[in-house]
Symmetry: C2
């Protein structure tokens, strides 16, 4: 049925239910091959079909919060024939993308933006005097995020009607934590009584929203009836519809393992991961060091901290998808002498940017940021790449930034961090492949991995150290000697080492944007020297989805690219 | 009484009330001389005296949200003798500062952090097995901020008892907007009935907090009694105490003009301000261009937009202190064809960092950020300086960054922005003093203000253009010819101009941090050229309070500093 955009409105309930089965099979088949978000998408099939049955897209607008539940929406809006390219380089994205389809009205990727965006879109509609419906679909995990509260708080100020659907599956990536979650549960439990008698005002009505719930979001007939009824009411009010869905619905393994199947990685065989090193090392350290506290914002397992949380529950805090709050809690812990480790994906740390500056660094308190998925992270695309963290951290006073060259050095850095009395950021990618060996770790100093008089290659992080060593070997075969430096601290830089490099030619390699990145620090350091410096880093554009290897090569950061530059400039 | 730390606990109510009068006089006298936050501090006198009477500081900890209400606290904790240095360069800060006193346990400056910080501190206390009270004092304006909701949401997860005092004066800087504010008002109105009969559960109880209110925060006797009672209960629960205070209390002019007297600038005679140019220009543009919408986060008057809001209420949105949300609303407006202008102070834009990247720039929608108080902003100190925005914006793809050289150029940029179809940031300081004249504005191009073959000075923004011209005149007297370039776009840079500069020596001037700032872009652009480049910008440290002039000179960005460099390097 999915070859073209199906005409849902002409279909019977039976046909629609058959369509749901077909969609579900297509999603499972594709995700098993390409990787992607499985259980969140499986839970949304019926609700999405009902939305497309009742509303008129693309005239009406729907915004999927975070966006990792939009596969059915994509399949129903003319992208079924390209669905086998999902998350592949050059293929369709796993998230809503305006540039991909007029059915995607707003790009998402980070949690909690859907209600604010819906209010903006609805306000534009009202200013222009147009007539269409605006719907935000938001999971209970995102619901903890402060942005949602800020949006609720301005519903009456902005005064443009929208429909908010809470897709409540009791999970974000980890099980949902927090009081708002408990409150949603309470509403679900009370639902039956509420139908019968006069009920308490809900928290949502205090914000000027009509609340309607709780309904079974996996029951297509029920969803169609409810959305049809609500659609009529949207002309004179904003409504919040609370539905329950089952994460992983229709695929038993997912239903039973929603956390493990939230994200599926394509292909089998996991490399060791930096997150495992973090979890193992921090657990060992916490045994004797009672000051150590681990803080996360809803990603505990993927950050490698499940065991820590189990072993030290009283020193483990998962605040839900509240990255800003987590940073301030860490600062509060630190001013009272604790040693907090805040583990967070690079891209989500952007949410705590102001708090890292004001609460952590301007107070100069010893919070350690463990920044996972730094650099290119791959198939999730623009909103999940970690290519900006060196740029947005390097100018913050008082912050030390470390970039380990391998898992062993990461472990050494963590051990050393226990005695480090100031803000520290350690950034690392997902996979931890190499063991470069080398001199024992000395805090604050770079490391020369190879001597060479012709070019100095200063590289940052495992992927780039590996590249630098490959390049230096290849160049040696051609008679060009390259020195290779492991810049394991982006800040402070090792100025003794920098001053000792007598090379006219410097090459920098980093897994970060060019502007404001490591290379630009080197450019500025040498700006009065007259040296010739070439920076290899990502250009000034958002990096799409694809494999890590494909994307890094796309930007010329490869053995061929670097060797070619060196050969062409060797005689300059 | 204030010569040393007064022993409040031994004082009678009459003596305490007399102390309140003395404190109030001291605050009024000092702020009238030094500038500062007047009405917010006057409203807090009795509540702060009561806190110091009932609790045991510094063993107990109090965190003042935003921090612009801490003057009484400072006067009661040993800083009365230095109070006449308030906000002066080298004097005491207008905000809580740990480095200033053990009575200041947590630095604040940006809204909404107090509850998260209190939870962190209380959690540390419980992990260590210590016994003290932790109090967050937060205004109703901050209360709109999403951070507070995130903190509430984790009260039960973190499970460490704190006292939260809502200091409700119905104002942030502008009158408080938003539903939470209306809800607080409703609670106040219901207060009397609630005392008599069984009341509804408040929103706070849904988060696991005991709610107690509303009481008169300017009634010392009442506050002492209430806090004494609550102190006993903090051993087994977290409590939220809701008090009403009068902003500007005890000083009639302030009581009647709380908005105008929120911040007092020392000295009389205002220069023209960029904010006035913004308001006037945008109002004129909006007359014919119905797509224009102005968006603020609680600072409408200081951003120059009061008239716009009055003239175009249907195209004006003040979301309260919710900078992240404001950015997403703008993106939503823009995807539907509106032309939003988001006016915000540089330092507070840090709160919308992720949304500027993900919602505005990765979607490449035409939102214009009007970034006020950029560069050094003066007497509010570390948490209010705007010296980072070029660093945190310049690496964001799709974003154009403009820095006008004077008010006329700012106006031209605003006019040109109407036809600019992508994200745009315009950054400017408060005062607008010069009129440099010059060629008609051409979008995307720099401007050569003066020719000269010896050094090229590339300068960014009014303060630096003025400095560059002064330097070039002084150097000309000594026979050194300096070319002066107005880099009115930090991004994209004018590469045609850059390539045309044949000078061996380049000097960059900017009102921003060195790292990641404008100069570092020049360093990187010329990194393969062998040119000798000197960057004048702020060093890698937080900039304290003081006058703009004092602070800029402190960092050597002065006629003397730049001339000295040029003379010393002219023969190199």
């Amino acid at each position: 049925m999915l070859e073209e955009i199906p005409d849902l409105k002409s279909m019977s309930l039976e046909e629609l239910n058959a369509l749901c089965d077909e969609l579900r099979n297509k999603i499972v088949d594709t995700v098993m091959k390409n990787g992607g978000h499985l259980s969140s998408n499986l839970g949304m099939v019926e609700l999405t079909v009902a939305l497309h049955y009742v509303f008129d897209f693309p005239k009406d607008k729907v915004i999927y919060d975070v966006g990792h539940q939009c596969y059915t929406h994509k399949l129903l809006s003319g992208r079924a024939d390209k669905f086998d390219t999902l998350r592949k380089f050059g293929g369709i994205s796993g998230f809503p993308k305006r540039e991909e389809s007029v059915y995607d009205c707003y790009n998402t990727g980070h949690a909690g933006t859907s209600v604010s965006a819906a209010l903006g879109i609805a306000k534009a509609r009202d200013i222009k005097g147009e007539d269409f419906n605006v719907i935000a679909v938001i999971g209970d995990g995102s619901f903890n995020n402060g942005l949602v509260y800020e949006a609720f708080n301005s519903v009456s100020e902005i005064n443009s009607n929208i429909l908010i659907i809470i897709n409540d599956n009791h999970m974000s990536i980890s099980p949902t934590v927090g009081s708002m979650h408990e409150y949603l549960e309470k509403l679900s439990a009370e639902s039956e009584q509420r139908a019968k008698k006069k009920r308490h005002e809900t928290i949502f009505e205090r914000f000027g929203l009509s609340y309607d719930g709780v309904y079974d979001g996996n029951n297509l007939e029920c969803m169609i009836a409810k959305l049809t009824e609500i659609k009529e009411k949207l002309h004179d009010r904003s409504i919040i519809l609370h539905v329950l869905t089952k994460k992983g619905k229709g695929y038993l393994y997912c239903e039973e393992n929603p956390q493990e199947t939230h994200g599926i990685t394509a292909g089998s065989g996991r490399a060791t991961e930096y997150s495992e090193v973090l979890g193992r090392t921090l657990s060992a350290m916490a045994e004797s060091d009672k000051r150590i506290v681990a803080v996360t914002a809803a990603m505990t397992p993927s950050l490698g901290l499940s065991d820590f949380f189990e072993k030290y529950p009283e020193r483990s805090i998962d605040v839900g998808i509240c990255e800003s709050h987590a940073a301030v809690v860490c600062a509060g812990l630190a001013v009272e002498g604790m040693k907090p480790y805040y583990a967070v994906y690079s891209t989500f740390l952007q949410r705590a940017f102001d708090q890292v500056i004001v609460d952590i660094c301007s107070q100069n308190v010893p919070v350690t940021l463990c920044i996972d998925r730094a650099g290119i992270s791959g198939s999730d695309g623009e909103t999940h790449q970690g290519e900006f963290d060196l740029s947005f951290l390097s100018f913050i006073p008082n912050l030390t930034i470390a970039v380990p060259k391998d898992g062993d050095e990461f472990r050494q850095m963590l051990l050393a961090s226990a005695h480090f009395g100031a803000p520290l950021a350690i950034r690392y990618p997902k996979d931890c492949i190499h063991k470069f060996g080398g001199a024992p770790f000395v805090f604050g100093e770079w490391e020369k991995l190879r001597d060479g008089d012709d070019f100095a290659i200063i590289a940052c992080g495992e992927r780039m150290i590996s590249l630098a060593l490959d390049v230096s070997r290849r160049m040696a075969e051609e008679g060009i000697d390259c020195c290779v430096v492991n810049a394991r601290f982006v800040k402070p830089m090792d100025t003794v080492m920098l001053d000792s490099l007598q090379h006219r030619h410097i090459v920098t390699l980093e897994d970060n944007a060019l502007i404001g990145g490591f290379g630009s620090l080197i450019d500025s350091y040498y700006s009065e020297s007259g040296k010739i410096i070439k920076n290899f880093a990502y250009p000034d554009e958002f990096i799409p989805h694809g494999s890590v290897r494909e994307l890094i090569s796309k930007y010329g950061i490869s053995v061929e690219g670097v060797c070619s530059y060196i050969k062409n400039n060797a005689d300059r």
